[in-house]
Symmetry: C2
Subunit: 206 residues, 2 copies
Amino acid sequence: MKLFISPRAPNPRRVLMFIAEKGLQGIETEVVDLSRGEHRQAAFRARSPLAKVPALELDDGRTLGESRAICTYLEGLAPEPNLMGRAFAERAFIEMADRRVEFYLFGCIANWIRHCHPGLAPLEQPQFPDFGRSQGDKLREIARWLDGELEQQPFVAGSRFTIADITAFCAIEFARGLMRFQPGQEGMRHLQAWRDRIAARPSASA
Amino acid sequence: MKLFISPRAPNPRRVLMFIAEKGLQGIETEVVDLSRGEHRQAAFRARSPLAKVPALELDDGRTLGESRAICTYLEGLAPEPNLMGRAFAERAFIEMADRRVEFYLFGCIANWIRHCHPGLAPLEQPQFPDFGRSQGDKLREIARWLDGELEQQPFVAGSRFTIADITAFCAIEFARGLMRFQPGQEGMRHLQAWRDRIAARPSASA
């Protein structure tokens, strides 16, 4: 298998962190250079028609896209440690938590960065800074909700580490780097403490 | 079980269509009136902290949110007809297709409607019409890609009807009603023919 990634992009990081948590060895990686537009070139589009990274080339030649779908495949291939739930009810509740942090937390962060950060201008044209700034406000709302969740439970989906922690962590790290968002400095100490615990896991530097 | 829905909203419709395809009987429904802001009131937020519909109250008292997570639960409860894949590789490829139509097709439609349609102004404040219009252009790009997919295969995820058809259909119907988007009139005849085939299924009027 070969995983197509882009350095510093949060979605490839989610899959790399998932692979590290699984302890999966031997998955080759190949860099797609977004700044040179390699994701939009025909060679990559033949694998990933919507020009998205990450993408996982399987041993049978097919290419699987979309971070969470890639994780579903890897969870099937290497079921332990379990990161996405065992029985269907647990899988559903972990998916709920994962979608909440992906759609609302990560979604707001991605929109802010795409529309407000000058470094993203080559990738996002046109930028709509007023829209982007409104997403920064929504991000704080969602982050405060998550801070409340993490006051009551140690991990995003409940009592154990799951894929939802990976999604939320990669989102928060993206916001820390490009939005200077530091939950602790904005009074969200449970979110900050959780972030610091996750950052101490070996997979966080994958 | 009780499903909280809102008439005409596309996400509750996805779950209602999934339930109809499964032939599941006896799930009570309760309407949450978005126009009166009922989703933001404390009674509903106790079930759905981010004020989102649909939400499924389980028999054990817990409430499950997020359309696709609700479907994961219902698929576990009633495995046939299978709509989300059996072995993990099939589940992953269906999830990939489902996410592509949810994030890029439905996402662009929802952004256009939220930011450009006057009827959504009470729910989305402030609206950013320039941003919304840019999403209409992106929608056409994604819809043309999907039209190409449906030239080669009868359903969104391949050879059989899956959850990805439900997601894409509810998105296209939302756009047909509120954006006057008619794929056939814009040269996307495979997408239109697929839409017309799905519209003929009994579940489409669920």
